[in-house]
């Protein structure tokens, strides 16, 4: 049972990291990232490949962060000036391109078969349940660092400028280059956190393949951010935990409906994710912990 809870907690931390990144990119800077799963995949694959090549795991994780930061900055540079819906399309297109690359460059990524046997950090120190607990400790540390980083950015003048740019398109367009630079940096900062999440994912599962990085990752992240109240890091934490608890709860659906086969149970869970996301948008658009209102901009319509 402890093992199960440890695993759940690690899932929660990984998805909370992704939520944290989206909260920075979308919540603070107003940049819709529908391609989170692509950046997440890049983080996981870079960390996994580097570790498999014998690079120490901490360095592998750093390489993953560097890769996601660079790619995030590039994507933002191309698209940061676009309206939200175009940004969503551009980031989604990027993630799909990543997926194609992972599927087709078999020599590097193992294609659809994925990468098995990724080394874990500190694997000699402990084993079995103890290792799980150690990994949990590592994840908590990583999360604490990322959370502090995000919180610092949020309360710093940088965060204030971001929110001002998000709220006022006129100011944003007048500032032109400055706006672009702020948005690129915010997007890259989010990318760094996704890189950490990707590394943890690769190290924890020791096996990664392209199906783990689907659009559902984006849906989770949006649910967590919306449930937590867009823009608030503490709210995000609460949102991520409650969303994961709900989603994990749906795993038990199968026990109540034994007539479903495994595939049906899995698709029912994804249906519930979709329904949950929609219900959240309709009934709780400001989240359970409201700090910034999602509808702030429609006030004058």
């Amino acid at each position: 049972m402890i093992g199960y809870f440890t695993a759940i907690l690690i899932f929660v931390i990984i998805s909370a990291l992704i939520g944290l990144a989206l909260n920075l990119q979308w919540g603070q800077a107003g940049m819709v990232n529908f391609g989170i799963f692509g950046f997440f995949a890049v983080g996981a694959y870079v960390a996994g490949l580097a570790a498999m090549a014998g690079v120490p795991t901490l360095i592998a994780a750093l390489l993953a962060v560097v890769a996601t930061v660079i790619l995030s900055a590039l994507v933002a540079l191309v698209s940061a000036r676009l309206r939200e819906d175009y940004l969503a399309i551009a980031t989604l297109a990027f993630a799909e391109a990543v997926r194609l690359f992972l599927l087709n460059e078999t020599w590097l990524t193992g294609g659809a078969n994925g990468l098995p046997g990724i080394p874990r950090p500190l694997s000699k120190v402990a084993s079995g349940l103890n290792y799980e607990l150690l990994f949990l400790g590592l994840s908590i540390t990583a999360f604490a660092l990322c959370f502090a980083f995000a919180q610092l950015l949020t309360v710093s003048p940088f965060g204030r400028v971001l929110r001002a740019l998000r709220e006022d398109d006129l100011v944003a367009s007048t500032l032109g280059k400055t706006t672009l630079s702020f948005r690129v940096r915010a997007f890259a900062a989010g990318g760094a956190i996704i890189g950490v999440a990707g590394s943890l994912h690769a190290f924890y599962f020791t096996y990664i393949d392209p199906t783990q990085f689907g659009a559902f990752v984006t849906a989770y992240a949006f649910m967590a951010v919306i449930a937590g109240g867009r823009g608030s890091n503490i709210g995000l934490l609460i949102g991520a935990v409650s969303v994961m608890v709900l989603l994990e709860g749906t795993r038990f659906l199968k026990d109540f409906m034994p007539f479903l086969d495994a595939g049906q149970a899995a698709s029912l869970r994804l249906i519930l994710i979709g329904v949950g996301l929609i219900l959240l948008l309709i009934y709780r658009p400001q989240g359970f912990v409201s700090e910034y209102r999602l509808q702030a901009k429609q006030g004058r319509e």
Partner: protein
Amino acid sequence: MSNPILTVSKLRAGYGSGGDIIKGAGFSVSQGAISTIVGPNGAGKSTLIKSLVGLLTPRDGTITLNGKDVTQLDAPAKARAGLGYVPQEHNVFRNMTIGENMTLAYEFIARETKGLKAARDRVFDIFPDLAHRAGDMAGNLSGGQRQMLAFGCALMPDPSLLLLDEPSAGLSPKYVAEMFQAVKAVNQAGVSILMIEQNVKEAMVISETAIVLVAGQVRAHMPALDFLNHPDIHALYMGTADVAAAGSV
């Protein structure tokens, strides 16, 4: 004063979760008359017109058109009840031809097509310029021509009351005169008119009634001639503290 075609009482309106912008305004428009709303910037003139035409649902109060309560109707229903509206900007569909704009202005309000040709001819009589350009894209028209088209479109379904939001705004002097002439002509053909106008003097010359809106409330409701001859017209129009004090409730 003859029967009012429009009666507004204790109207309250505002946007989103913001406070009231129209704060209990009340006035009436006489059948067959031209009435003009004047007031300083920020008095709530546009908000008032939006809530009259149904683009903004009033929070409180009543709007009666032709003796019928239309307060809660949306814009399409108000249009069918006989309310025509010419917005100040974005008042034609730019990616449609003049002809299409006019057809569209008729078909969804009249809900038939038999009278379309007659309506079109009627509008062409008032704005002959539109007749020989029916195939042109509305987006290619000059500001003045566009204003004429918007005016013509509002007339297509033969409304009983026409609301004009700053009909002369942004027009060259030549078009301003033409526009006021058109307003007068339309009125003489039997359409009651309520307009917001910045060219106060020109507007008052053709109006019967002046309605002074200050800070979301009607501060004065008087014959246009009195308004023109009022010693404090400038103060009234600018809405200085003086007037606000004099008229405050």
